[in-house]
Symmetry: C2
Subunit: 315 residues, 2 copies
């Protein structure tokens, strides 16, 4: 398929880098300020190199990327809350032109789900967003396979940064501030780690999952009850360990509400993945509890989820 | 979709029972001796009841089911080895008529994969067989999503009976014969448990997975190296436990060979599911190690996998 990628951060760049291996042609690549467009396929190595060295992709405007002859637009611009712009507008432009959209950007699906679905129903294009939840873990795809009405609940550890911090606090007996600094040094936490440590990122994923599972109601971030890990003292993890447990930042959707908060979980259980790994537990009507775990975050991991979604559009 | 089900054991009956809830119409239901056919949809409750009380589904011949106006044939007759008959013939009849086939029967995919793929390429119908590996676990679907060439290895605990026996031996310190008898009382092991305890069932699943992952070679049961659990003394499990490990019947495909045998695994790890649960570990090129676990075996669980495959045919 011909793929236009908007957003040149970790995920967008990884999609451009890997698309050829999956048999696709990148016909446009844009960030907020510039774009490179070629209906026959851009020189992906050159574009990625230009971004790295000059911070500029090409000589075109980003609009040129959105208006090109692609089959699917990959929306990989940074997640924004509330009006979810400019991501929502990008989605709308593609669907209005009867193109497909694959999102890694959580904003439009978490904050304006019904509007996106309405635009999709009026379009020949389809919208997929597996990459927004759990990186490489097939969470949305698995919910679709079981059919959303047969999923009664989801529990997940879906933020790699928070999980890394809690894992390290438990393993080394170090306090939060210390481990956060370590995580920032390693690039596991951002300079501004708020969304990861205050539970917002996990809540966005919970809201997205709730929107997929519940066909009768639409959820937004403001519907979620959120507690982060910033105030967790190291002593709580020691106490948990004495009881064969540990603490993880867990997001839950029980069919009614989205909740995020630190939870006690058994030490080596499905909901206590190590490091930056993610884990999801689905309660299904016909097949009991299903556990999935693996690498959640990361440019390549999330890109592989985007490319898997593009593949699903083809079959 | 209009669904014809051939095979009236646990899985076939569960598919017939659940099809309506998934929006499908059962137009034919057959076992080895009889069939009930109705182009507008059979009375599923009546047919299941007749099977339970009289052992007979209806007054038609099984051939009538295969020749009817269905969209997809569900092949749920017992797995047979070697020529994989009569399952292979059933698959051929449906494909020749340009109908889809969804298999729960492992025989044709494990023993005559290339022939099935050849028939599929000459047909307008597609073949799906997710229900053959891991029951409700989305194993085949996940391999397809990542694209088979990006899966470098699979390791799995894919036989619920053997796993139950080993779990119980470890938990209770009981010997194999004792736990096998218990498993048979519970219906977890068959009166003739050979395929489960000698590793054949796990090997068939490994061969199916190998056929999907490896696009250059075709595997059959005779390619697998198989060791079962029949000769495992309880003392080995005690020894393992002293080292924080346990023993599970693990099937592996490393890109080259299919192997089944008892393996030492860490006690609470991804490859040590409890009871009859199944677990699969996929090594992926771009996203590291992915773990999936859940209920493998069971009529309803496997039927949900069949119905998920039918759903995939529709989109």
């Amino acid at each position: 398929m011909r793929v236009a990628v908007i957003g040149a951060g970790e995920v967008g760049s990884a999609v451009v880098d890997l698309a050829g291996e999956f048999g696709h042609t990148v016909t446009a690549f844009a960030d907020s300020k510039s774009a490179v467009v070629d209906d026959d396929g851009i020189d992906t190595d050159a574009a990625l190199s230009a971004k790295r060295t000059d911070g500029v992709l090409g000589t075109e405007d980003p609009e040129a990327a959105l208006e090109g002859p692609y089959d699917v637009l990959v929306e990989a611009t940074p997640t924004t809350l509330g009006d979810a712009e400019p991501g929502f507008t990008h989605v709308g432009i593609a669907l209005q032109r009867d193109r497909h959209v694959v999102l890694a950007n959580k904003g439009p699906i978490a904050e304006r789900y019904q509007e996106v679905k309405d635009l999709e129903s009026e379009s020949d294009g389809s919208v997929r967003f597996g990459a927004t939840v759990g990186g490489a873990l097939p969470v949305i795809a698995t919910i679709e396979d079981f059919s959303p009405s047969r999923i009664t609940a989801l529990r997940g550890v879906l933020n790699g940064t928070a999980n890394f911090i809690l894992s390290r606090m438990a393993a080394e007996g170090l306090d939060y501030e210390h481990v956060l600094a370590e995580a920032q040094d390693l690039g596991v936490a951002e300079a501004d780690p708020s969304f990861d440590v205050d539970g917002t990122d996990a809540a966005l994923k919970g809201v997205i999952v709730a929107n997929v599972i519940d066909s009768e109601a639409t959820y937004t971030l403001s519907d979620a009850s959120i507690d982060g890990i910033q105030n967790l003292p190291g002593s709580m993890l020691d106490l948990a360990q004495e009881d064969g447990r540990t603490i993880r930042l867990v997001v839950e959707f029980d069919g009614d509400q989205v909740r995020v908060g630190p939870r006690l979980v058994p030490e080596h259980s499905a909901l206590a993945p190590a490091g930056t790994r993610n884990a999801v537990q689905l309660e299904t009507k016909v097949a009991g509890r299903l556990n999935i775990s693996g690498r959640g975050a990361g440019g390549e991991e999330t890109a592989s989820a985007v490319l898997a979604d593009i593949g699903r559009l083809q079959s």
